[in-house]
Subunit: 340 residues, 2 copies
DNA sequence: GTTGGCACTCACCCTGGATGAGTGCCAGTC
DNA sequence: GACTGGCACTCATCCAGGGTGAGTGCCAAC
């Protein structure tokens, strides 16, 4: 039903449309590509492709543009993997190597991704619950006031202030600090919680209430879901590059991008690391973004994803290039965060 | 030269133009305001105001719009201070009280400000160098690897990884940690640096190189200027509300907003806390933002500003309302950060 | 100093015809 | 049966031209 040449025609249409932003006609197609057939033949193929729903006409006397279904086929079957240039690889490495801490890594990744793809980039901060504990610190702020500091292997720092009903002595605090760290360091936060729960029992009955308050607050910090919701966004100026009629819909798109929770849903459904997920137009589960495509990838180790990153752009985007960039940055971030 | 009525006319023009986004003519003016004179008289006043450069005509047969100079006069002399409604005050307090840590305070402030003013909001993270030290922690990551953690009174956390040439024993580290904290806690970071510089001499000669490496890295963290450059932005979707011809210039504006360093320059010139600074159109020292106005205020104690926050909007904005919102949020943030 | 009247300007809107890219269909060719 | 050239048709886009009306500046009168 879809022979080789029809697929070539579809590929050519996608490529030209991505390039020129204009509906592509049969004549232009044979001029720009070596299809070896006449415009009339291409027209027949186009009619067939339209019949199948892969391309459409904006209006009667215009050329064709790919539909979401067309892009989908293009991505699944036609897009060759286009590796990054070595210059681009170098740029990623040198720019991101300059980061001094986690915030910096995330910020720079967003910038890099936005610049490489010339689209809106989104990077989720590494999930807290799936990170491992590097260190827990208890800082006394006053007799009954305590600052809890949690440092994860990915470099995230979380803090909480706790009020205890009675003062906790320095000796007790030191003891507790040591106990917590021996038990938790290297554990994933989800696992650390169960370890923390057992700690109070190992203390003298008198001390248990205070210890319980502290470990309780720490357990809360370990499992705070809100902390998993942090994202960084960059390259919003590229929204305007979408062009033409898209400018009208910038508003809702910007609004959607500010709704970080929504974004995370969109990104969250990406599959395993090293795989790049593409969602196109109507496949995007958000009303205001049905005219966009989302290219995303998880980062982290293969067994345990830490977070997701990706870009949002017009369905008319350079899929092979974008996918390559997203994959490259995801790989870099994975590696960077795994060895601290 | 500018009698009372001419000023009223200017005020009326500004208010109507802000309201309707359209050049305002003499008839509309007398209809909407109780000026007590006829359109013809208003026309004479308008001619005088135009002569002085406070208003202008987009084209011959159109109404008048205020110039930057006109807005300036409006802000300086005509804008009554418009206090926030008690509902708005409550909204600010309850929403911001829910913040759990510094990141949260900043994020929520940005959102609040963007929502109140319906414009693009910018909040600078509290300056590191002007904050005071709450706690310094040394975490051993390996025999010669150390994680330095600095926590400030505003809740900022900075971290650095240091490699030492020789291993630092636990006793030494404990000693050093205690020494650093006794000396630095409560000090502003700028002052802490000088205190840190004296620490190595108080240690045994053998230990000095290691101690020196550590305090050196810490001093660097204390004075890292890049850390002062963090800002949060929100409400970019409101850019599209600028309307009309502004939509064209969204691109450069978004780009300017992504250049955080530039933003800080713009904000940085704000004066003391509790005062609100307004820069209008050509007064804004950035090429791509000459069609915008910036309303900003410092936050922090009166003697020592910690950072700046504000909004960027079209010169055609509700100055009294915006100034009130900016002042209110700045006050809240000042108070919130001063008592941790 | 203020007002009503009046001529004038000019952006904006609507209309209608010309233009041309692109299509679908069909008869003819390999 | 697949491909091709020719041809009539469609329709968005562009451009010119006339009408409309908001708003002004000026002037004479109050």
């Amino acid at each position: 039903m879809l022979d080789e040449r029809k697929l070539s025609v579809l590929r050519a249409i996608v490529e030209d449309y991505v390039d020129t932003r204009e509906p592509v006609g049969s004549r232009a197609l044979v001029d720009r590509h070596q299809l070896g057939v006449s415009p009339a033949t291409v027209r027949n193929d186009m009619a067939a492709l339209e019949e199948e729903g892969f391309i459409a006409q904006p209006h009667t006397s215009a050329g064709r543009i790919p539909t979401d279904k067309g892009y989908r086929l293009f991505v699944d079957r036609l897009a060759g993997v286009q590796p990054l240039s070595s210059a681009e690889r170098r740029a990623i490495t040198t720019f991101l190597d300059g980061a001094v801490d986690l915030d910096d890594v995330v910020q720079r990744s967003v910038r890099m991704l936005a610049q490489l793809t010339r689209q809106v980039a989104i990077v989720q901060y590494p999930s807290l619950t799936r990170s491992t504990v590097r260190h827990v610190e208890l800082v006394s702020l006053g007799p009954t006031r305590l600052l809890l500091v949690l440092i994860t292997s990915t470099g995230r720092v979380e803090q909480r202030v706790v009020e205890t009903s009675v003062a906790a002595g320095d000796a007790l605090l030191g003891d507790l600090r040591a106990r917590i760290n021996t038990v938790c360091i290297g554990e994933r936060l989800v696992d650390g919680v169960t370890k923390l729960a057992e700690i109070p029992q190992t203390f003298a009955v008198n001390d248990r209430p205070v210890v319980h308050t502290i470990t309780g607050a720490l357990m809360e910090a370990f499992t705070d879901e809100r902390s998993d919701e942090r994202v960084a966004i960059g390259g919003t100026a590229n929204l305007t590059r979408f062009g033409d009629d898209f400018d009208r819909s910038i508003r809702p798109m910007l609004e959607a991008l500010e709704e970080h929770v929504v974004l995370l849903q969109l990104l969250g459904e990406a599959t395993s690391p090293s795989l790049v997920t593409v969602r196109i137009g109507s496949e995007v589960p958000h009303e205001d973004l049905t005219r966009t495509a989302i290219v995303s990838s998880r980062y982290g180790s293969d067994v345990d994803a830490l977070g997701t990153l990706g870009v949002v752009g017009p369905t008319r985007m350079d899929y092979p290039g974008t996918m390559a960039s997203v994959r490259a940055v995801a790989r870099y971030v994975s590696q960077r965060l795994s060895d601290g």
